[in-house]
């Protein structure tokens, strides 16, 4: 248990020591997206009575969460493998399950930190500049999915393709939390996301168990 906690602590400390790059930069990037897209589109575009700037925020939050969670575990593992310092975690008596959990929880932690940062900063921006924050925060409105668009604005074929993308369900379900309306039932989104997580987690665990590309 101490081994697992130490690995988790190390993984969190790793990104926290360079928080400017790992948390600050993605928040700033998301804010720039919001500024540019809302500047260009806010006056022209409304999605089901939601202002485009407000519509954009949940998508940006979820996108940042996913990208940073992914970037955390992948960059940590690949960097330490390329640098060779991965031996420091391969030599101790850590099980593959501990390995998996520590990396996953650290990734979730960074994703959540970035997500909260994006939500606060872009929300503040929306409140300040657009006076739509009240609406955005309190009144869940009709929403669709995709980060920057509703999939209903896509040709039928691409709408179908979107439905095979687990990220679509994550964003759709997440937006439902804000606006109360979604493309697919939130329970379906939750189920798809849970099943996807299970599939990815089991694949990862079996790869770690066999030492795939880590122990030769």
């Amino acid at each position: 248990m101490i081994g697992f906690r130490t690995l988790l602590y190390k993984e969190v400390l790793r990104f926290w020591k360079v928080a400017f790059q790992t948390v600050g930069a993605p928040v700033l990037t998301a804010l720039l997206y919001l500024l540019i897209f809302s500047h260009v589109l806010d006056a022209q575009v409304q999605v089901n009575n939601v202002r485009y700037a407000a519509f954009l925020i949940p998508g940006l939050v979820m996108m940042s969460v996913l990208q940073n969670a992914f970037a955390n575990s992948s960059s940590s593992l690949i960097q330490s493998k390329v640098m060779g310092s991965v031996v420091f975690i391969l030599l101790p008596p850590l099980s593959y399950v501990e390995f998996f959990l520590a990396y996953m929880i650290a990734a979730v932690a960074r994703g959540l930190m970035v997500g909260c940062g994006v939500l606060v900063v872009t929300g503040w921006f929306a409140l300040d500049q657009l006076a739509g924050f009240q609406n955005f925060l309190i009144m869940p409105l009709t929403m669709l999915s995709g980060v920057f668009y509703s999939i209903h604005s896509l040709p039928v074929f691409w709408q179908e393709v979107s439905r095979f993308n687990p990220v679509f369900y994550m964003i759709d379900g997440f937006r439902f939390g804000f606006f109360g309306v979604s493309d697919v039932a939130p329970a379906t989104s939750l189920a798809v996301v849970a099943a996807s997580f299970l599939a990815v987690a089991l694949t990862t665990l079996s790869m770690l168990r066999s030492g795939y590309k880590l122990r030769y």
């Binding site: 081994g3 906690r5 640098m83 030599l91 101790p92 122990r215």
Partner: protein
């Protein structure tokens, strides 16, 4: 004394390359054991199998009775490995690195022992310096410290002194020797043969994934090397035909490998009878380097005890 490390018929292939072709070794508790061989002989692969970094295709390995696969947690707890490559985690200071490494092995509040290691490796002043700012020799010392945080009964040092200055090398050996005297088993691979000769009680030599020599250091020196007689003849004198087969020429000297001191007499006698005059004569005791070169150039698997 129990068995510290047991290696039985270990085979490992990387594609078409056979890195280990059936290696068996047994190292007793408290030994200072040397693992020698040219580059690519399989030393690092063997150590990696022991540490669980590489999975053998066949064979079994255990550390103090714990199988490195079936009982990997216990085996790894008993083993401290200093890797060959100069690797480090650039995010942390020396002390953080060592605390984290202790935690991986399930040890908290290890600072007393960490301080002792730091002092012994002359790192105390660098404890709070980021790993990135350390020189190569300092990073090497931290690697040694990382391998020791959990006080492993079996210590494996893979080329620990490559690129390290003389002073540190002395200090490091003093420390490792002390650990060995306190009961730790030490396994050392090195390219500095004089180090192995001075430190190791027993030596295995690896060549192309096989053990080609395995004996105590004095026995190896005696069995494969013994003494050599170096003779330089004066002027235009020629070595008698009868001696040619037993001699090799090196730097203007005729070199004879001696089976015993009585052979000196017959060599000198033959030269005298042929009318030659000796200008210079040296009797040298071969060192481990001679043994190594000798072993690597002849196939002596059959000569193993």
């Amino acid at each position: 004394m129990g068995v510290a490390v047991s290696i039985q018929d270990v085979v490992k292939r990387f594609g078409s390359v056979r890195a280990l072709a059936g290696v068996s070794l047994e190292i007793a508790e408290g030994e200072f054991f040397g693992l020698l061989g040219p580059n690519g002989a399989g030393k690092t692969t063997l150590i990696s199998c022991l540490a669980g970094l590489v999975r053998p295709d066949a064979g079994r390995l255990s550390v103090l009775g714990c199988d490195v696969h079936a009982d990997y947690r216990e085996a790894r707890r008993r083993l401290g490995v200093v890797p060959q490559e100069l690797v480090f985690d650039p995010f942390f200071s020396v002390r953080e690195t060592l605390r984290i490494q202790s935690g991986y092995f399930g040890i908290r509040r290890n600072d007393d022992w960490i301080d002792e290691i730091l002092a012994n490796l002359d790192l105390t002043g660098k404890a709070d310096v980021n790993m990135r700012r350390l020189s190569g020799g300092m990073k090497r010392r931290v690697l040694v410290a990382q391998a020791l945080v959990h006080k492993p009964p079996v210590i494996v040092l893979n080329e620990p002194t490559a690129g390290v200055d003389v002073e540190l090398r002395q200090g490091l050996w003093q420390f490792v020797r002390r650990l060995n005297e306190e009961g730790h088993t030490v396994i050392l691979t090195t390219h500095y043969l004089e180090e192995a000769e001075a430190l190791c009680g027993r030596i295995a030599m690896l060549k192309q994934g096989r053990v080609v020599a395995l004996d105590t250091t004095p026995n190896l020196l005696a069995r494969f090397a013994g003494h050599t007689l170096n003779v330089r003849l004066a002027g235009t004198a020629v070595l008698p035909e009868a001696l040619r087969a037993a001699a090799s020429e090196h730097d203007g000297y005729w070199v004879f490998r001696l089976g015993g001191f009585d052979e000196i007499e017959s060599v000198l006698g033959a030269i005298r009878r042929s009318g030659g005059t000796i200008e210079d004569l040296r009797l040298t005791q071969a060192d481990l380097e001679d043994v190594f070169v000798g072993v690597m150039h002849e196939e002596i698997v059959g000569a193993l005890p």
